[in-house]
């Protein structure tokens, strides 16, 4: 590990410039809970590590224009401690809080979870269901992209050279809305999702679902929105028939692999089950706010 250089820029421009100068072997560092594991295992030999945690905005949570802005490098523990955020976005917060142990929570960030681009990244389904966006900073300024546009293949993102994620933005919360995230793992703690399901929905004044988004993790090369699954429950009160349609649509959206954690059949079946259960939790939470 001796050829590595380390920089901790204190402005976004400086960070982008360092990343460009560092070239193909430059890597962004947030909490390091993926990056350092890869580095230590010899899977990665970065020439330059650009620690973006000292860039203004990278750490911290604020409310703005009715929504929330989460510094993309903010550790999970800080996100879990934010009462107002948890109240507005319980599904997003529970997804982030599932990442790793207490120690991992002390460092692991949303930016790292999304940019590591694992199809099993726990925060991704909840954020996609929530219509969260990433504020991306780079050599040609800022741009905003939906979370689902970040991961393009296992371990690969759509970020251009010199770009990094500075903020995660959650939109203003409509009345009677709530979200939920569930994952299935072989143990009760400290494991990688076999399937993850995020559901975000809004009810009308009569308790009928007016808007719904479902996103699934670990059942395809990237975490993805399942538009048909969301559509399957719109206009319903989440009765048995609606749940059955949701289950079907979620299963149809799956294109998983078989590995030691689960076969294609198992993952597909569980995706339907978790989509139902997460929808029921989100629905119950939204009703509780009516």
């Amino acid at each position: 590990m001796s050829q590595i250089a380390y920089l901790a820029p204190t402005s976004a421009d400086e960070a982008a410039a360092a990343l460009i100068k560092g070239g193909a072997t430059a890597r962004v560092l947030s909490g390091g809970t993926d990056l350092l594991v890869q580095l230590r295992a010899g899977r990665l030999a970065p020439g330059l590590i650009v620690d973006v945690k000292r860039v203004p905005g990278a750490i911290g949570i604020r409310q703005e224009d009715g929504g929330f802005v989460i510094g993309a490098s903010t550790p999970g523990m800080t996100i879990g401690e934010h009462a107002a955020l948890e109240k507005a976005w319980p599904g997003v917060v529970e997804a982030v809080m599932l990442i790793g142990s207490t120690q991992i929570q002390g460092r692991a960030s949303i930016a790292g979870n999304l940019c590591n681009a694992s199809p099993a990244a726990d925060s991704a389904p909840a954020l996609i269901a929530a219509r969260a966006t990433c504020v991306i900073v780079g050599p040609s300024g800022r741009r905003e992209a939906p979370v689902e546009a970040i991961g393009i293949a296992p371990g690969r993102t759509s970020l251009a050279k010199g770009e990094f994620v500075l903020e995660i933005r959650l939109p203003p919360r409509a009345a009677r809305s709530a979200d939920a995230y569930l994952r299935s793992i072989p143990r009760t703690e400290m494991d990688i999702a076999v399937v993850g399901a995020g559901v975000n929905l809004t009810l009308d004044a009569d308790g009928v679902i007016a808007d719904a988004r479902v996103a699934l993790g670990a059942v395809g090369p990237t975490v993805a929105l399942a538009p048909d699954a969301g559509a399957a429950i719109i206009g319903t009160r989440l009765d048995e028939a609606a749940l059955a349609r949701l289950d079907d649509a979620a299963r149809s959206a799956c294109q998983p692999i078989s590995d030691k954690r689960g076969t294609v059949d198992f993952r597909t079946k569980i995706a339907g089950v978790l989509a139902r259960r997460a929808a029921a939790i989100a629905y119950g939470r939204a009703r509780g706010r009516a």
Binding site: S2, G32, S101
Partner: protein
């Protein structure tokens, strides 16, 4: 090109300065540069918690943090837990309950348990078990560890009133 950089931080309340290569972990710096060998390396991949330290109030794995990141930070390690020769109640309770055998996991467990009690003086057993899920022990079977932490928490609450 091995550029050693100069790092200033606070460790267990004392200002420290050390030199470190850019790719060196905080764990290696603590052990090899500062001689604080209480923090252990069990896995080097964030799974075992033997390297647990507290940085700016947050429990973390020092094997997954670069020493360079420690610039200006406040670090607490197992070496700062006892007050001179007076053991911290958690340390005392670990001995009383025989919550250790080989002892390799013990510094990490103690630091993690201290972080828990700093944040939540009255954790339930289930909260305690979840909090410590990132600390692996191959010897004790955890039960005595949990008893020791719950007992220390009770004693600390008593001392507070």
């Amino acid at each position: 090109m091995t550029s050693r950089r100069h790092i200033s931080a606070t460790v267990n309340g004392d200002p420290v300065e050390f030199l470190s290569e850019a790719g060196t972990t905080l764990l290696d710096a603590l052990r090899d540069e500062l001689g604080l060998t209480g923090s252990k390396e069990g896995c080097g991949s964030g799974d075992c918690g033997a390297c647990s330290v507290i940085v700016d109030g947050r429990l973390i794995c020092s094997c997954l943090m670069l020493a360079a990141e420690a610039e200006g930070r406040r670090i607490e390690t197992i070496e700062g837990m006892a007050d001179g020769s007076t053991l911290h109640p958690l340390q005392r309770k670990f001995l009383e309950h025989a919550a250790l055998q080989c002892g390799f996991c013990t510094p990490g467990l103690l630091v993690a348990a201290k972080a828990l009690l700093d944040a939540n003086p009255d954790p339930s057993e289930s909260e305690t078990r979840y909090w410590l899920a990132g600390n692996l022990c191959r010897c004790t079977g955890y039960d005595k560890v949990i008893r020791a932490v719950m007992d220390a928490a009770a004693e600390l609450r008593q001392a507070r009133v």
